[in-house]
Amino acid sequence: MTDVFAEVRNVSKRFSSRPDFAERIAIRLGAAAQPPVVHALDGVDLQVRRGEVVGLVGESGCGKSTLGRIIAGMLPPTEGEVYIEGVERRTLAGQAARRARLNTQIIFQDPMSSLNPRKRVIDIIGEAPLAHGLIARSEKRAYVEDLLVTVGLDPSMAGRYPHQFSGGQRQRIGIARALAVKPEFLVCDESIAALDISIQAQILNLFMDLREQLNLTYLFISHDLSVVNHIADRVVIMYLGRIVEEGTAAQIFDSPNHPYTAALLAEIPRIDRRHRTFQTIKGEIPSPINPPSGCHFHPRCPFAMDRCRMERPALRTLADGRKSACHLNDLERRPDFDLNEKGRENAS
């Protein structure tokens, strides 16, 4: 299990608009400010081992989708390296680059906007393997019908258009399309967020079945902690472009180390949490254009110290093997987070 499939090292991604000619002159003359830069990712290290499911969790704007796209090769990083099976992605060329791209497929949130409405299902799923020479034209129908069965759809539906399917069925088509080029690694970007609860359960079960049948590796990106808790072996928590904690699902969910993880866990709505008095971490998620100094979480953190305002905490491996980026770990006696409702109420 130490076989690393994909790895990013010190990856950063910044987005900014390119000033046009007039703006460049204005900036040069000091009449206009530099265009704002969005720091989507800020020095992220992550390993995905072969055969494992890594859950990537965070709130909006934390960079989880950007990281997924960089690993999948859809976006180039501004800084840092992406290794796929030990080879830096940018050094790949020709046949090898193509194989690496095919080997990683991405499944999006909204199947309606990621499926071409003017194509039949057989072409949506069959186009890529045909174009890449994985199958012959004569094999296309049988190949697509096979895939439809794999994802739990009726093979006789191959001639239909996307609008003739329900949301859950469309997501299955999106999965079949990704599987059509025989990938080993799937990046699922909020792939079940838009579905109803009963359908979510069906698709999650499908992901777990496929993992067993096809030996897949997953990067499962979601804002929904309970979904990630269920499906992931290892969980990565992101906040404003940085990884704040990383560990096995049991470590993260049963005994969080980072105050942000603890706060997130305390906020998950769950059926067994009745008649709650909602207690919340204060403040809004800051803008990635102008992130806070030091630890990005310090303005909202109940345990923030002076050091947190000045110095960025490093993501360090702790005694139990997990990683956490928090200065509290350097204290002799770190404060306890009480995940228990009652404790939280009494504390306030």
Partner: protein, 334 residues
């Protein structure tokens, strides 16, 4: 909970039917919904997309546009029938005694008007007060929903606020006239967990303080479990089960409710296959006869071809099913 028993019933919906007459046929979005709400009570209305939960909310406010129409039933708001009330009367109630909060505040706030204009106009629409007083009340409402420095922020425009702050503004507007009833349609669905929690905590506090009735429409059983006193589960235009949160979530009688609870990942062992409800919700134009859930139900028999009547259990717990789950069957659920 004790005071609720004696509290005034502010809303009583009986056998409400809202149908849409489309060229393809009649869509029975709401098909016989009955519910009651007392002062200070929070009712969670839960269902999947297309179950009719939002249309139920719109119907109470008389906001259903053609080709939709109320075709039957009754809506008593503090004893007054709303279904055949004049548009004038409804206007005087909407935003005043009954307020609504929508899912996407960007759609409900006018992008070219400042928050101040929105709020002052809302006050003046129903109360004959000066602008000064209207402004003071608006600032007070913003303060109540936890917006800091309301005196300066009230001058801002909707785009200057984040999603969570916009939703707070929408709630503040709904609170301006201290309504008796608020209908909230998935108001936190688009928000992040930490922000959702903040909004829920404000709403909960305000309901308790002012004794408003709140109908919280949501697809998320987890949110409703934490927030509501009672819950009603909708499927295909009908309430299939309702009762107190503890009754419904601890001992669901309808197989659909049990299925919903079972398919939540938190209810299952980590990594195990989730319990799932097979199939998908039927198309609204083409719902099965009798019990609409029977095509997806493991317990369905020929009996289910007829429409199941409402069965009353203990206290407030009621369900519509010929084969309600017994306590013994519930033990097999997680």
């Amino acid at each position: 909970m004790m005071e609720l028993k004696t509290a005034e019933t502010i809303l009583e919906v009986r056998d409400l039917q809202t149908h849409f007459f489309t060229p393809q046929g009649v869509v029975k979005s709401v098909d016989g919904v009955s519910l009651t709400l007392k002062r200070g009570e929070i009712l969670g209305l839960v269902g999947e997309s297309g179950s009719g939960k939002s249309i139920t909310g719109f119907s109470i406010l008389g906001l259903v546009d053609p080709p939709g129409r109320n075709v039957g039933g009754s809506i008593l708001f503090r004893g007054e029938e709303l279904l055949n009330a004049s548009e004038e009367r409804l206007r005087s109630l909407r935003g005043n005694r009954i307020a609504m909060i929508f899912q996407d505040p960007m759609m409900t706030l006018n992008p070219v008007l400042s928050i101040k204009t929105h709020m002052i106009e809302t006050v003046l629409a129903h109360d004959n007060v000066g602008r000064e007083e209207a402004l003071a009340r608006s600032i007070e409402a913003l303060r109540m929903v936890g917006i800091s420095q309301p005196e300066t922020r009230i001058e801002s425009y909707p785009h200057e606020f984040s999603g969570g702050m916009r939703q707070r503004v929408a709630i503040a507007i709904a609170l301006l006239h201290k309504p008796d009833l608020i209908i909230a349609d998935e108001p936190t669905t688009a928000l992040d967990v930490t922000i959702q929690s903040q909004i829920l905590s404000e709403v909960q506090k305000l309901c308790r303080e002012f004794g408003m009735g709140l109908i919280w429409i949501s697809h998320d059983l987890g949110v409703v479990a934490g927030l509501a006193d009672r819950v009603a589960v909708m499927y295909a235009g009908r309430i299939v089960e309702q009762g107190t949160v503890d009754e419904v979530l601890d001992s669901p009688r309808h197989p659909y409710t049990a299925g919903l609870i079972g398919s939540a990942p938190a209810a299952n062992r980590r990594g195990a296959r989730l319990q799932q409800i097979r199939g998908a919700a039927p198309h609204p134009l083409n719902r099965p006869e009798g019990c609409a859930f029977r095509t997806r139900c493991d317990y369905a028999t020929d009996m289910c071809l007829k429409e199941p009547p409402e069965t009353a259990g203990s206290r407030a717990h009621r369900w519509r099913c010929f084969h309600p789950l017994a306590d013994a069957q519930l033990e097999t659920l997680p």
